[in-house]
Symmetry: C2
Subunit: 279 residues, 2 copies
Amino acid sequence: MTVIVIAGGSQPEIVEFVNLAKNFYGEQLQFVVFDKADNIDPNHFWTYYHCANDQEVAQQAVNYVATGSGQVLMKGLIQSHILLKALVQDKFDLKKQTLLSHIALIKLPQAANRSFLLTDGAMNIAPTTTTMIEIVDNVLVVAHKLGIVQPKIALISSAENFNPKMPSSVLAKEVAKHFQDQTTGLVFGPLSLDLALSPQAVQRKHYHGPIMGDADVIVVPNIDTGNVLYKAFALFAGAQVGGMITGAKVPVILTSRSDTAQSKFYSLQLALRQLDTEV
Amino acid sequence: MTVIVIAGGSQPEIVEFVNLAKNFYGEQLQFVVFDKADNIDPNHFWTYYHCANDQEVAQQAVNYVATGSGQVLMKGLIQSHILLKALVQDKFDLKKQTLLSHIALIKLPQAANRSFLLTDGAMNIAPTTTTMIEIVDNVLVVAHKLGIVQPKIALISSAENFNPKMPSSVLAKEVAKHFQDQTTGLVFGPLSLDLALSPQAVQRKHYHGPIMGDADVIVVPNIDTGNVLYKAFALFAGAQVGGMITGAKVPVILTSRSDTAQSKFYSLQLALRQLDTEV
């Protein structure tokens, strides 16, 4: 039995999402919802706790997973920063890694339905070398949990040539150097997006390297790059997208207002695959 | 009669591209090719000039447009920086605006075949407020030449809320402020990509603003954001993409090795629409 704790969940979008999840996982999942609004669960899908305001919603939801009663935390329709502020409070002792980072799972129909991870398009604004090393550490854990033994991790810049005038190129080179003797993953960069994800582009450019259109992970140099990429894939490339925050002791699903119920469901699947128990 | 000058053009890819252009425009276009390799033109498509090396290719090609013998400059398979170095030399007097910037034209089948411009994913690495104002000035000229009287210009950040901690958000706010009384275009930001380009996302987020999924121009906060976006649209969203450098007295087509002949042709169409004479 796995318990999903939703902070701010008494909304039609969440009912639709829980419906999808219940249909797929049946009684393997239980849902606990904290909200300041009235309980709108029509079918006794979830256990409901009423709170006075968004701050209490966040505190109660985080406390529920911190005490071990829930295994996955999910943001409903409260604001991200309110939930994240509660999540990192010392009293809950929920931080596992030094850094929290966002990881998206993207399945592209155009690339033979291949899936890859994208990080970080939602949490860390302008990573330094140290921050990006931690972002890679976090995504290595997630990739391994997904069963990718030695993930190919592409550090994205605008081109594959090292360019000292291009900050993303310098960042990629430094981070790749840090991981050069790592055997749990292949960390390579700078690399452009086409060479990281498209075997056709690799062929057209006659490119040879350790990653040739077959990256398992895309690491972007800044939040704006990841954010537009996530949105372009989701809105214009027909991709299945899900996302979560990693680095805490429980996976945290951070849905956006513009995510569909289906996309929330993919996020749940990604989060469940991070747990040690099979769901 | 319009003359297209190609620097480094004696390659099969360029023959294929010139074929496409000749089929479409017939005798309205003439091509002049500078190269250090042998002339491979099989059908007397172009006038050919042999050069000693890439530097001479660049000098001769730029000189040809500077003296008024050619109306469009196109990079073939020489390196961009060699051509650009020649282009900005004072002796040629080819700079019109203070800044050269890259502009792509993107037609997305998913968005009812709507076209929009994307700038700058290829030239300016990390624009300051001043640089981004010049990027917007350049794209205003191009949009007007395309017949868009008052283009809706979205300054992209990761979200539509102003966030002082997010450099792209601060940049967008400052640039939008600079253009607030401008009547030749509507310059607005910060705005997220989904709200700039997708009416469906606007609807789902209940968003209201001067741009609601109907942007004519996407201005990105840094080169990496524009570069991945261009590549994602071209490779995974089935978009038609073309691109050029603006700010010089002649349009400059800067093709990439991974561009198809078709994409080079779209770039030519975009460039031709910048000329005062009809082609």
